[in-house]
Symmetry: C2
Subunit: 94 residues, 2 copies
DNA sequence: GAGCTATATCGACGGTTGTCAATGTATGGG
DNA sequence: CCCATACATTGACAACCGTCGATATAGCTC
């Protein structure tokens, strides 16, 4: 694996290598419409609103979450296939 | 996903969420006998020997690598199935 | 417009991380 | 025993990270 590819992949792995961000991804992907807004995510994680926004931004910047603003709310959803790419790296044939 | 499970999983994801450690795992799993010693890994990563030992220890502590000392050399190999567990979390993040 | 609400951003704080130089520990050869 | 080799450990350092409180921005309602 090249140093450049390792650097790029590590950015995405770092994004999900946090317990709260793992739970955010889990909460969003298991929600009704496969999306959630910040106000839905603050309470189950027991974190402040700025902290949740911060974590969501990291996941969006890493290309794992998609952010869509509708009215006052910001809805976050999993980018299709994003997690599959990372899973593929871990199951890669030697 | 419970906070406890997220915490445990994040420890393993943190272990591979580093470019040099990703390359270590890649180098080991693609080597001839699926194992490598520290002296084989120092040069391709362009890192000092203490730094490589440090990264390998993190991967061993996370349960991703197995360490076996034979004579003066320490051989590291991938723990069977360890990466598949992480890949499974990403493909079905309930 | 004023006021409220949802979200983002900023600044600061303690804690963690990656790296290196120096040193320690074990193993094998002579 | 002496010494070289392979690896681990320690201590230090700057950089980064997660969290919070305060504040800013944007959209809705009246």
């Amino acid at each position: 694996m090249s140093a450049e590819r390792a650097e790029a992949l590590s950015k995405q792995f770092k994004a999900i290598a946090d317990p709260n961000r793992l739970r955010l991804v889990s909460l969003i992907s298991s929600s009704a419409e496969n999306e959630a807004c910040v106000c839905d995510l603050t309470e189950p994680l027991d974190l402040g609103q700025p902290t949740v926004s911060h974590h969501l931004k990291i996941l969006v910047d890493a290309g794992i979450l998609h952010r869509e603003k509708r009215g006052v709310w910001a809805y976050f959803s999993i980018v299709p296939g994003a997690l599959d790419v990372l899973a593929g790296v871990l199951t890669e044939p030697k």
